[in-house]
């Protein structure tokens, strides 16, 4: 059973599902709906989809407890494979923010704008990892940038569809590696951004940062070898 989302507008159609934007319970809302996978047995599909939605919702709630801003959750509908969440109104993805920051200014000017964002990214990932939340898909499209009423930078982490709770240095290292790769493909000055991210990361997750950064270097070396061979 699945009803049309009355009055909603489609934002994005991806490989895993569709996103809609509209009003729900009187609030600006984003709905993330997962596709049925016809090649899977219906019972298995229902089970796997339910698990993914649970993992995503759980990570969103746990991240808040870790002091990382995520959208407010309004409703979880397993029957229609939907997550109803707060629309972060007035936000852009960090990817778009970085690209827009580059328009019409020098690299130095761009860096001045981007630096505080880089520091904030490192802080939130550090807090996340200190609470053993692995994001699983840390790209610049999955971090939203907005400004508070007092013009402070606010970052909201989204898209926890691949997340899990685990105290694994390897998984945390991979999260950082994915972020570094994502930055490199977004912005030519990413090599200047990443040390700032790591600096903030170390501060926010001081207990584990040594082990995790060693893992990160390892994952990165493996990745480099793979690109050289492949």
């Amino acid at each position: 059973m699945s009803s049309e989302l009355e009055g909603f507008e489609m934002m994005k159609q991806g490989a895993e599902g569709r996103l809609f934007r509209g009003a729900y319970l009187g609030k600006p809302t984003v709905v993330k709906e997962r596709f049925k996978k016809m090649y899977r047995h219906p019972d298995l599909d229902e089970h796997l989809t339910k698990d993914r939605i649970k993992a995503e919702a759980r990570a969103i709630v746990r991240s808040k407890a870790a002091g990382v801003r995520t959208p407010c959750l309004y409703h979880v509908d397993f029957n229609q494979r939907r997550l109803y969440m707060e629309d972060i109104v007035g936000s852009v993805t960090v990817k778009k923010f970085i690209k827009d920051s580059l328009i019409g200014c020098s690299d130095e000017e761009a860096m001045v704008k981007i630096k505080p964002v880089a520091y904030e990214i490192g802080s939130i990932i550090g807090r996340l990892h200190a609470h053993h939340i692995i994001h699983g898909d840390l790209t610049t499209s999955n971090i939203l940038y907005s400004l508070s009423e007092s013009s402070k930078i606010v970052l909201t982490l989204i898209d926890f569809g691949l997340s899990h709770i685990d105290n694994s240095a390897e998984d945390k290292g991979v999260d950082l590696y994915v972020l570094e790769r994502a930055l490199l493909s977004t912005h030519s000055n990413a090599d200047k951004m990443f040390p700032i991210i790591l600096q903030a990361y170390k501060k926010a997750n001081s207990q584990e940062s040594k082990t995790i950064l060693a893992k990160f270097e390892e994952v990165r070396a493996r990745g480099r070898k793979r690109t050289m061979v492949g």
Partner: protein
């Protein structure tokens, strides 16, 4: 939210075709009578302890979850009104949750919520039975007990640096059947 003479109404998930209406009463003299009528089913509504409600939206989200559970046949309590009360709680213990979010016989502040089809609220029928004073729902902010709420929903100080109390509560209500704290 729609508002007529201190009654706030909000549309729930369109799949359910239902609405929730709320009214807040103070200085109530006959809480025991009202509670008995609700328990016996003579009055169709949830009566909620307002000290545990930060904002009407908290009730809207719990009512919405109850309405959706009714549509899909997954309610865990006996009526949509006990389901609403149970949904307000992050505990899985039904009787404790109903006790915690329901009212005591001696309580003088009560929040009434009804779930109904469009333009078919039974709130006026309930209002004539409550011997008390109807006040705007915005008065909730004076009645609610911030520290009790924080404790009941297990919300840390770190969390309140990045989210409002209401958003934290609502996100927990939406996920309480599969996220533990």
């Amino acid at each position: 939210m729609g508002e007529v003479t201190n009654i706030v109404t909000e549309k729930l998930d369109p799949t359910s075709g239902l609405y929730v209406s709320m009214a807040l009463f103070r200085n109530v003299k006959n809480s025991k009578v009202i509670k008995d009528k609700v328990v016996s089913g003579a009055l169709q509504c949830s009566i909620i302890k307002p000290s545990l409600i930060a904002h009407p939206f908290q009730v809207v989200v719990a009512a919405n979850k109850a309405a959706a559970s009714q549509v899909f046949g997954s309610m865990v309590t006996k009526s949509i009104y006990t389901e609403l009360l149970f949904n307000l709680s992050i505990s899985k213990n039904i009787s404790q949750s109903l006790m915690k979010f329901g009212i005591n016989e001696s309580d003088q502040d009560i929040l009434v919520a009804t779930i109904h089809a469009e333009d078919a609220s039974n709130m006026s029928e309930i209002m004539v039975q409550v011997e008390g004073q109807v006040v705007p729902l915005t008065d909730l902010q004076n009645i609610c007990d911030f520290n009790l709420l924080r404790k009941s929903y297990k919300i840390s100080e770190d969390e309140l640096k990045v989210t409002s109390l209401l958003d934290s509560i609502v996100s927990r209500i939406a996920t309480s059947d599969f996220v533990s704290h």
